[in-house]
Symmetry: C2
Subunit: 629 residues, 2 copies
């Protein structure tokens, strides 16, 4: 499908199987994501901005200019990056209209040679690049560059773009093939430099990104406290077979590697990342799409180490996973990447913000055993307590990452290629690109019916492709073409090819019904449990729905009885509630007799909605009544 | 039983139900612990000493004296404490004959007012007591005082004792009721000050310890990264109902609280700690006795959060748990405290050192999924990689803690009271106390027969009490008295009261046979598994014993067939070995079909012995053949 290329593209590969649509080409008009995007645009962006003023992270730039940074700097060494992420979010949301005063302060803090970081290099601070492993300087540039690209794409190059280019030039001058042979402990600049190369057409940015990818894995970052794999510095990117180490780092690096591979035509590198994705999804990913189980180092665990109650599943890793899957989808056209993106968007990204958009999960556990205390609205909390939504964190990467993801979400819905248009994610929306205009009407994921009506079409044949999600396997999905022809479709892409006329309606009917999922016996912590999924939504038991003040650990479910849908979107399952008492010495808690409970119905709610009704306990994988040892 | 009190006592309460024996009254003459104590005395003490020279921790004292500490200090802020722990170990092992040069260097580094710490207070260093939460200064005094007490008890007050008294006097002067109202982020000084009070009869040391116990739980340490419970500063000691937060901190604090409670006759405080112990053992303790599952903050998890593959179970927490149980046993006489101590000694403390005494586990996982790389003998490794035994760690608290525990181990075997003598732990040993001399002959825990022959006895009746371990419940234990009378005995204390004559032999026959343990269904990660225990020893599967290079995760066991003992101390069980392949999209790893495997015999070995035969995988809790979902 030829079309005038939109410029408002978060990711704009010059080649690959599919072409993205611009944010000006896709409008989400209602439903699940429209509601969340509205809260994001009207509440969360201001919330983030206010908090960063309050905790002094935006003020760092002014303090740097005024020569008092060594005394007045606030926040962690990477605090600049959150300011940049917010500016990126604002650019996508407002069409590039970002805070001029803040931009001016950032510009003023940039040094003549392009260096820009409020934590290093000034009198009384650590020297520039004195700690590549933990200093995050290149990481911060990465987010700065993404903000600059967003501004340029949204309304043409602006001040932020110029700052970003100066920083990128500085990096290329210092870290090129003859320069500093280091890499940043936290990947991010790789994907950003490729995007800047795509924006500007300047080869050296791409070359620099390729250098950073190739240099990684040679141990230059040292062993550190967590070992080389933490920084993905244990082996070259193209040799690794699975995602490992710090989850956000691993996923940003993989996204950057895909970008480099696509632009340089490096099929080996692309295949290597594809393999890593596949193994990580098969062995190291939660049912929610959450990645990275370890709290200690925020990292992937070994294969099948996926304990629900110790799921770190950082929100930022969810954002990064969607970024990676999107790049792999564009490069390959394989719908499994959109499948994982959907799972992660609905069950990680949508779970992080509270309904009011004023507090966020940093980590997304699948099982909470104790009722927590909801943090006060005006208190910044340490990352450690992140099993509760909090207004702000000492390390607050997640709120701004959610903000920019929701802002650019329309860009994830559809693509085009030479044959037509592909719908990957479903929302009530309008799409106008080239000669095609579509009206998509749906209550997805509450309802499985997706209607795609053509409003405008070229007068030659083209193909409308609709993703049939992998979760529909085992049930029946139907496609109704504009002539009323109804055929069963299976996971993958369902296609209708024809000369479309205005008014033509294609309908996809997806089997959005709750069903039990069994557990992989290799995941120890879920042996003998079952979980409910309905469409892309994972469900959970939450204590506020249990009788008599019970906690979720008292629940056992009968997975032989089918789950029943309820009008309010919740699901009822059969089961028992029983609370075993502590047994006496000798040596509890082993050799425990099973305790029979009272048969009762149990209500489950969508996982993303939990913890919006006060302190509660929650669990996704529920022990079955026949699971007693 | 009246006797001349021995002075060589690690813990010497002035009241309580039982009285400890001195290290000069108990000699371990053979078997399991004699072998380990021999390696400790002849290899591990020198190993620790050599490493601390090499990494500069002993050199810190000289650097402090020579005014170059601000440039030359090595190790973490608590490195002094490991030097003190080694000196304590040497004192118990050698009868107080500790390195005079090192002692002299420590004395020289002590400042005129008694302050002593190589990390703080000198020009170019952080000020004294500027960071009570993380600075570890009072913690270091705690270990210094324990070393000073050990020297005094082993051979009379020496230089180390004097240094310790000066430090304690300094603390009392500065932190008394009118002084600094803070507490140390890491408890340890509490138990040390009580022991110094017991040694010297000086009330103010006890008063200061009581103040530290009472001050804790008022939030003076701040929230920190991990919350107040990490430092046990979330609520007063006497109000807490369970051990929580950092495991070693929690257990040292509880030990100190018992000491204070015993000396001040504070029954409420004693009862509070007893409750905390009970709940922690019922809900937060591994089968091995290991405590503290969280890697991130080395802390107790919530109730029943005991994942085998993410068991931190720090060696030092095992040492601290034995310290606490010993104090509770002396205070109450209840054999369950000796039961837990036994479990922890055999399965945590004995597991840490390698057979050659030159490398140590820092954490004691119950399931290792990947073969690791054995660290080189000359490389200090970060704490993070502690699922492998390593020669030394950047944080190396565990090797010296094991060393001092093995050195004072004879002190844990027996006690006396007004009625007689109690045997709590079994080893081939000789005991001489007051008018009693006993010869204990046993191959425990390989064999369950314990013979206690009287070599000398007063000519009035007294009671010999032998602990029948809780693990014997469900099987039959027998006691054969000196007249040949044979009676069944149950867990608790089995007693023989009479006028003993030299040559009288009492025999305890414990049912040391392998048996299956079922899992508590509330511990998610072990649902559908079983484990083997034989006497006090927990067993495990280790990949080196599996055919065809299989890893342990391929094993499923048939827990309906009894485990069979083999001549070499290993155990054979029936089961299957099967390796499920990765399943295709959609969305592995859920909805997995069970995979049938080949029926085969599987060899299990004592847990403490694992990882002495090269890199391997290992697991304690083994999925059962009928556990597929």
């Amino acid at each position: 499908m030829n079309k005038e290329l939109s410029t408002v593209l978060p990711v704009a590969p010059t080649r690959g199987r599919l072409r993205p649509l611009g944010l000006d080409e896709v409008r989400i008009t209602g439903g699940f994501w429209a509601a969340r995007r509205h809260v994001n645009a009207t509440v969360s962006l201001d919330h983030c901005r206010d908090w960063m003023e309050r905790v002094g992270w935006t003020g760092n730039f002014r303090a740097a200019v005024e020569g008092r940074i060594q005394h007045d700097r606030r926040g962690r060494e990477f605090a600049d990056s959150d300011v940049y992420k917010l500016l990126e979010a604002m650019s996508w949301e407002t069409g590039g209209d970002v805070d001029p005063a803040l931009t001016e302060a950032i510009a003023a803090a940039q040094e003549p040679d392009g260096y820009l970081n409020t934590a290093y290099g000034r009198p009384g601070q650590q020297p520039r690049y004195s700690d590549l492993a933990w200093g995050h300087e290149l990481y911060c540039y990465g987010h700065l560059i993404q903000a600059g690209v967003a501004q340029a794409r949204a309304r043409g190059e602006g001040e932020l773009t110029k700052i970003a280019r100066r920083a990128a030039d500085h990096v290329c001058a210092l870290f090129d093939a003859r320069g500093n042979q280091g890499v940043c402990g936290h990947p991010e600049i790789e994907t950003a430099l490729v995007e800047l190369a795509r924006l500007t057409g300047e080869q050296r940015y791409l070359d620099q990104a390729a250098l950073f990818i190739d240099r990684r894995g040679r141990g230059t970052l040292g062993d550190g406290e967590f070992g080389r794999a933490y920084h993905q510095d244990d082996m070259p990117v193209r040799k690794a077979t699975v995602l490992r180490g710090h989850a956000v780092r691993a996923l940003y690096l993989a996204a950057g590697a895909v970008d480099v591979a696509v632009e340089t035509g490096d099929e080996d590198l692309l295949a290597a990342v594809g393999r890593q994705w596949e193994t990580a999804v098969a062995r190291r990913t939660y049912l929610t799409g959450g990645m990275g189980s370890h709290h200690r180092d925020e990292s992937f665990g070994d294969d099948f180490v996926l304990p629900p109650d110790r799921a770190y599943a950082e929100t930022c890793a969810g954002v990064a996973s969607v970024m990676l899957s999107w790049r792999l989808l564009l490069a390959t056209g394989e719908s499994r990447f959109a499948d994982l993106a959907e799972r992660t968007l609905f069950n990680v990204v949508a779970t992080s913000p509270a309904e009011d958009g004023r507090s966020f999960f940093y980590s997304n556990t699948l099982h909470r055993r104790r009722r927590g205390t909801v943090p006060a609205a005006d208190v910044q909390i340490p990352r450690a307590e992140s099993s509760l939504r909090a207004p702000w964190f000492a390390v607050s990467c997640c709120p701004t990452n959610v903000a920019r993801t929701l802002a650019l979400l329309p860009g994830y819905l559809a693509t085009t290629d030479d044959h037509g248009l592909q719908l990957h994610q479903y929302a009530d929306a309008e799409i106008t690109t080239g000669g095609i205009a579509l009206r998509i009407r749906t209550d997805y994921p509450s309802d499985g019916r997706v209607s795609v009506r053509v409003a405008r079409s070229p007068d030659h044949p083209w193909t409308l492709s609709l993703r049939v999600p992998a979760w529909a396997a085992g049930a029946t999905a139907w496609l109704v073409d504009p002539d009323g022809g109804r055929r069963e479709v299976t996971p993958g892409m369902a296609e209708v090819t024809r000369v479309f006329r205005p008014g033509d309606e294609t309908v996809l009917e997806l089997p959005v019904r709750p069903r039990w999922l069994g557990a992989d016996p290799r995941v120890d912590a879920i042996r003998g449990t079952a979980a409910v999924q309905r469409g892309p939504l994972v469900y959970c038991a939450e204590s506020v729905d249990l009788p008599h003040g019970h906690e979720v650990d008292a629940v056992r479910v009968d997975a032989s009885a089918p789950p029943e849908e309820r009008a309010d979107g919740s699901v009822a399952v059969a089961g028992e509630i029983s609370v075993p008492g502590d047994r006496p010495w000798p040596y509890p808690p082993y050799d425990a007799p099973p305790t029979a409970g009272d048969r009762t119905g149990i209500v489950l709610v969508p996982y993303h909605s939990w913890a919006n009704r006060g302190p509660s306990t929650m669990r996704v994988w529920l022990p079955t009544v026949d699971s007693a040892p």
